[in-house]
């Protein structure tokens, strides 16, 4: 209960002002395509040089929280996921916006974010020592199986045909091999210097999701006068609350999956949203509605990616190991003030530690309030004529992919992948499985190589990858997931007409 003593510190004028600044700034940065939470926090680091330790961390923590949620804005309205965390949000969120329900989608996404986020921070407050052990429990073999578990959902994710889903997953896995391999130092498929560092995930996201849509919009613009202006339906906030309560299952699954997966160093944040989305889909009676603008999908994805924020800081705060790039940046924010995460932080600087954690709790609420306010205004984006919209999205896509590492190469990669995706979409492939392949490929590969090196030096490949409770548990889940997909595929086959199969 120690954290309660430090709640007052959050509300001193300067601290609260910084919290507001971080939250509002974070929402704006998060909503800008290409500015991932990691980058937003890194941009703010120099400002914290001048601040006290607790103040600096409040600013950084608030920015982290609200950029993750702010990413939903561009994901829903523009179909540009600001970061891997927001991929799953586009699947139903953008379809909702296209139906004129943008305001509703934004409202429930911010509410779901706040619920998930608060739960995640509470976990951080109460269960940190337990969670730290859990974070360490995942070694290379477990991470390998976890990535394989991710691969098993590729086929069923946002695709009518499992085969096409798997195929686009494979394309993603192949794209992931491009570049210098960090472990063995091999060079693979580098035909142009721009590919030396591999395919940057943010640039790829922007290209794969936004560009096909831009091309479609331009194509439409030439046919008619393009004034296919949507009527934006007003949506009362109370309605969004009701919607949230109606979907307790998606909310629960999203929050649980986000908290658990967010904890695992190096994997969590990127796939939490997608795994939660897939799981809610499997458990939902309305699973056919997923992907067609179904609020449950948005709720699951957004509650998961904000629930991950709190637990993702556990390895950093307790073990002094930054588990994600964003945590690494926060580590810099602590070190600059001479504070070492770990026991030093909680024993000698409890005011800094708890003020920071408390401010994240308050930040979630502030983020939700501002988000709800913005939702109504932002949804008007759908009223912009398509030809104008296409130009704006294209501009943002170029800006976003350039700003990731100030490299024109990423813009070429973005454009090339986008054009490729446009044609793939015409043949019924979708971007989400491809991106999942791109994310999971390196995780599976690196952990397999690392695991096999350790295994060869110790007790051999078999016992290392197949032994141990956690390994066996994960393998069982993998098998169950495959069996379930196969079963669903067979069952739905019976009702599928010949025309649908051809389509």
């Amino acid at each position: 209960m120690e954290f309660l003593y430090y709640f007052g510190d959050v509300f001193t004028p300067i601290n609260f002002g910084l919290l507001l600044l971080g939250t509002i700034g974070g929402l704006i940065l998060g909503a800008t395509p290409g500015l991932s939470p990691t980058m937003a926090v890194a941009l703010l680091i120099p400002f914290t040089f001048q601040l006290q330790a607790a103040q600096g961390l409040i600013l950084l923590g608030a920015a982290y929280t609200s950029t993750v949620a702010g990413g939903a804005v561009s994901a829903i309205l523009l179909k540009i996921p600001g970061a891997p965390a927001n991929i799953a949000t586009t699947l139903d969120g953008h379809t909702m916006a296209q139906k004129g329900e943008g305001a509703k989608a934004l409202q429930i996404s911010f509410l779901a974010s706040a619920v998930g986020g608060i739960f995640g921070v509470l976990l951080l407050i109460f269960l940190t020592p337990v969670l730290a052990q859990w974070a360490l429990a995942f070694g290379p073999s477990h991470l390998f199986w976890l990535a394989i578990l991710g691969v098993t959902v590729i086929g069923s994710l946002d695709s009518k045909s499992v085969v096409k889903g798997l195929l686009s997953g494979c394309i993603g896995l192949w794209l992931a091999t491009i570049g210098f391999d960090d472990i063995m130092g091999a060079q693979r498929f580098i035909f142009h210097p721009a590919l030396g560092g591999g395919i940057n995930i943010i640039a790829a996201l922007i290209g794969l999701f936004a560009i096909p849509q831009v091309i479609t919009m331009f194509a439409k613009g030439r046919k008619g006068d393009g004034a296919e202006v949507l009527k934006v339906q007003k949506h009362p906030i109370s309605g969004a609350f009701r919607e949230l309560f109606r979907n307790k299952r998606a909310m629960g699954i999203g929050t649980a999956v986000g908290s658990v997966i967010g904890l695992i160093p190096g994997v969590g944040g990127q796939i939490a949203g997608l795994v939660a989305y897939d799981q809610s889909k499997k458990f939902s009676p309305d699973r056919d509605k997923f992907g067609t603008g179904h609020p449950e999908g948005v709720i699951a994805a957004e509650s998961a990616n904000n629930a991950m924020v709190g637990p993702s800081l556990v390895p950093l705060l307790t073990l002094s190991i930054p588990g994600s790039p964003t945590a690494a940046v926060l580590l810099g924010g602590l070190l600059i003030h001479g504070i070492f995460p770990g026991t030093d932080l909680f024993d000698n600087h409890p005011d800094v530690a708890w003020t920071f954690i408390n401010s994240m709790l308050i930040g979630q609420v502030l983020m939700c309030i501002f988000g709800l306010y913005v939702a109504g205004l932002a949804a008007r984006v759908a009223q912009v004529p398509q030809s104008v919209m296409a130009a704006v999205v294209l501009g943002l896509a170029v800006f976003g992919s350039y700003s990731v590492q100030s490299s024109m190469g990423d813009v070429y990669v973005m454009a090339a992948l986008g054009v490729m995706m446009y044609f793939l979409e015409r043949f019924g492939f979708s971007a989400a499985p491809l991106v999942l392949g791109l994310i999971l490929g390196p995780i599976a590969e690196a952990n397999f190589i690392q695991g096999s090196m350790i295994a060869n030096a110790t007790d051999g490949l078999g016992p290392y990858f197949l032994g141990g409770t956690l390994n066996i548990f994960l393998i069982v889940v993998v098998i169950a997931s495959i069996a379930y997909s196969g079963y669903m595929e067979l069952r739905s086959r019976r009702y599928t007409s010949k025309e649908e199969i051809i389509a």
Binding site: I45, L136, I183, G196, L319, S320, F340, P442, Q450
Partner: protein, 322 residues
């Protein structure tokens, strides 16, 4: 230190004359950019931001230095860019990591070598250290070496990647003790390698002194040896590898500093070489670096030139068999 300052002052006066002749008297006239070939938040980025924070002061360059991150492929992306695409006009600096970029250029596949860059000054030296988990049975370097001798290839040792300081230290240790270890490069840099040690996935690890110091403060690891010529001020109780009977010198020490691409006007190089070391000596910079657990080691351009050359020779010998 006084001698060094006096030297720098003399150099400064001499250089100003030279730069007048070259027509770079007014350099810098606009803000300068410094490329860091690792991501925001990493140790190199973090330190680069601290050591350049006083660049805008009148007694330093009088213009701020902005950090530009170009991460990827263990630093190769950024250094390729600096060697091939950056403008050599004095407004684009780069941060170097030794032995990384020299080892990479020896292994090939990159567009740079030692000759592609001109060093300006060195700000930090982060030696590699041997760490084991807090509850490990190893308590000294001898324990580790004995285990490695009795069980060839069984001692799993994590490190940040191939051909970085950690790997070099592991190679030198193997050569020194005539034993073989299982070096496990991790993806995700030093943090991932440290996690592997703390979680008990590997028996030992080689990591940065600064990160290991933090992990030891948190009570997670024991530090057994430093791969440097002298004991480190941050941990005077930890012996060097030499003291522990292993012939491992300071070749694996991760030197960090500032360089410019070849072709930058000599007048500008001279001016930077004179000013930048004094900028590193600023007390605010020193204070922040010490607070963050980052060991400083300021070297002038001439010292760095000699260090680069020596390092290249050692690395060529060491990597010849791989």
């Amino acid at each position: 230190m006084k001698k060094l300052l006096a030297g720098a002052a003399i150099a400064l006066t001499a250089m100003t004359g030279a730069s007048f002749a070259d027509g770079h008297a007014n350099y810098p006239e606009r803000p300068i950019m410094m490329m860091v070939s690792y991501g925001a938040g990493g140790a190199t980025d973090f330190q680069a931001r601290i050591v350049t924070m006083t660049a805008g002061n009148e007694d330093a360059l009088g213009m701020p230095i902005a950090i530009l991150n170009k991460p990827g492929a263990g630093g190769r992306v950024g250094w390729n860019w600096l060697a091939g695409q950056a403008e050599a006009d004095g407004y684009t600096l780069g941060a170097y990591n030794i032995p990384h970029f020299i080892a990479q250029s020896i292994k090939g596949g990159v567009e740079y070598s030692r000759d592609s860059f001109e060093p300006i000054a060195n700000w930090g030296a982060d030696p590699a250290v041997m760490v084991v988990g807090a509850d490990s049975e190893f308590n000294t370097m001898e324990d580790v070496v004995n285990f490695a001798k009795e069980n060839p290839g069984k001692l799993t040792t994590s490190g940040a990647g191939l051909f970085v300081g950690h790997h070099i230290a592991a190679l030198q240790m193997e050569k020194a003790c005539g034993c073989s270890m299982a070096y496990i490069p991790t993806k995700g840099g030093g943090a991932a390698a440290m996690k592997a040690v703390i979680a008990g996935e590997v028996m030992a690890g080689i990591n940065n002194l600064s990160d290991a110091f933090r992990a030891r403060e948190a009570g997670n690891v024991k530090i057994l040896g430093v791969a440097d010529l002298e004991r480190n001020d941050f941990m005077p109780d930890v012996p060097t590898m030499m003291e522990a009977g292993l012939d491992v010198d300071n070749s694996s020490v991760n030197f960090r500093g500032v360089m410019v691409p070849k072709g930058t006007p000599q007048g500008i190089i001279d001016k930077l070489a004179a000013t930048v070391p004094t900028m590193f000596e600023n007390s605010r910079v020193q204070g922040k670096m010490k607070a963050g657990g980052s060991p400083m080691h300021i070297m002038t351009r001439d010292e760095v030139l000699a260090m680069w050359e020596k390092r290249e020779q050692t690395l060529k010998e060491l990597l010849a068999g791989l």
